[in-house]
Symmetry: C2
Subunit: 297 residues, 2 copies
């Protein structure tokens, strides 16, 4: 029964019988039969079909909601019992927005000191994707903007604030300044994240409200790529302070505070709101609460 519910979850993720089957490690007919069996047990069609997957019926959506809960609880049970036997172990799956990637180590390092047998998988995702992954039980926790409304299904632990800096060569225009305004930044050709990233949308908004418009010369979904361009001395970017520090500032590359307005975004840990949480997630929340005061400025 629980396996069949997992079929349903995979189908919701993949929106495709064949790929969902592959994700579950079974063949397509097996998955089809499993879905049909749940439908028979419930006495209602759950999936709208028509020679291809067309989404779920209203009843299907409700079943999906329950399935997420039931499957999630089953996994949590397994993990809790394993932890009782072996101490904290297993794999903690975390997704973070790119600008927060550098801060993840502030959580994983103290975590690992306490619980050396836990392994990590850390993904770089957009804030929207992170919430989806949490919903679909594909990650245990996310690190993202806490202003993204909590949806009621997740708990948020604030971690630190993003302060924006103009990253630029010292001998470029503005390169010798102690601080710059958003209006000034809007005049410079920039390397920024792609528009699907919330960070980019925040910066766009700030540039626009300062009277400029956002036409970055270069877009990427990788902070490394942006930074490597800045390092050439020929490009500039806008980045949160922390990640700029982590990537390292040289004599020639400066991170200049941007004011008017002094924009701040809060970044936090996001975990599914479900009691009880898995032991590994509980431990992560503990670490987050412990280190958060040391990160805030």
């Amino acid at each position: 029964m629980i396996d069949k519910l997992e079929f349903l979850l995979a189908l919701a993720r993949e929106k495709h019988f064949g790929r969902a089957a592959e994700a579950c490690g079974v063949t397509q007919p097996t998955l089809s039969a499993g879905v049909k069996q749940i439908e028979e047990q419930m006495g209602v069609l759950l999936v709208r079909r028509g020679s291809r997957f067309q989404g779920f019926t209203p009843e299907g959506e409700r079943v999906l909601d329950w399935a997420r809960r039931i499957v999630g609880d089953t996994r949590n049970m397994r993990e809790e019992i394993n932890s009782l036997r072996l101490g904290l172990s297993g794999r903690l799956r975390i997704a973070a927005i790119p600008t927060a990637l550098a801060m993840v180590a502030a959580l994983t390092t103290p975590y690992r000191e306490r619980h050396p047998n836990v392994q990590f998988t850390i993904l770089s995702r957009t804030s929207v994707e992170i919430l989806e992954l949490l919903e679909n039980l594909e990650i245990d926790a996310g690190i993202t903007y806490v202003e993204n409304e909590p949806l009621g299904r997740v708990s948020m632990i604030p971690l630190y604030h993003e302060h924006y800096r103009l990253l630029t060569s010292a001998d470029a225009p503005l390169g010798n300044r102690d601080k710059v305004t958003w209006a000034e930044v809007a005049q410079v050709p920039l390397c920024l994240l792609t528009p699907d990233m919330q960070n980019r949308r925040i910066i766009d908004r700030l540039l626009k409200s300062a009277g400029g418009d956002s036409r970055p010369t270069l877009e990427s979904d990788s902070m490394i790529l942006l930074y490597s361009h800045v390092r050439t001395g020929r490009w500039a970017s806008v980045m949160p302070e922390k990640i700029a520090q982590t990537l390292g500032l040289t004599d020639t590359i400066r991170a200049i505070p941007i004011v008017e307005p002094e924009a701040v975004q809060t970044i936090g840990l996001v975990v599914p709101k479900r009691e009880p949480m898995t032991p590994t997630t509980t431990a992560l929340v503990e670490v987050a609460r412990r280190v958060a005061p040391t990160l805030t400025d």
Copy 2:
């Protein structure tokens, strides 16, 4: 998998492999194999055995806790989907303390007007048993004293207050009074509920604090039996006002308020604290909230 978890729940209820198997509608070897299979999947012994059932290991207790949640959610899912198809239907299982039995009709009657396809099973149980039945998913709701600490796992909706009355023949001693004290009641031979009932323990406490002691001439777990004795005119009893009214007062039988102190107990509806509740339970809570103001005095 879920079936196996049901085996475990049955075993926790029955504390006996054979009876648990019977309750699940399978043979004893099947249940034994099912339990063993979960133990293998978890990699831990869950049941302490030794030629007979000896309880659960600590890991077993944790698995039981999860199993209750998972099995409960699965049933709730089924019921919710059924309700979407057929409107509100199914069976609502309620257990009430004996002194509240007469008040159940105040819930079931308006409920049935709105949702005529829901059937009821109503059990008379002690307050302790009601909480156990709720834990074990054997009832959907209870009606009991709300002072019984909520345990965090249940929600309580206050319904009405129990006021105590001396039920006695008009020509018996005290029979002509407008009110009596607990100290006076303590002098009269009484028919009371058995000591496993909280109502009895409450009355015992009141009698004792008034300086009397509680040596009822007759004990029973049935309010009908108590009342039928009072009706003979030769016995007296202490009952909540509402049930006395329901059983009917004749010219010869009076219900006399008992004062010093004027004791009041709050009775309420108790449902599992789990979101979302089943549609039938949700409807019951709605009815309870609606009728409660009309019951309170």
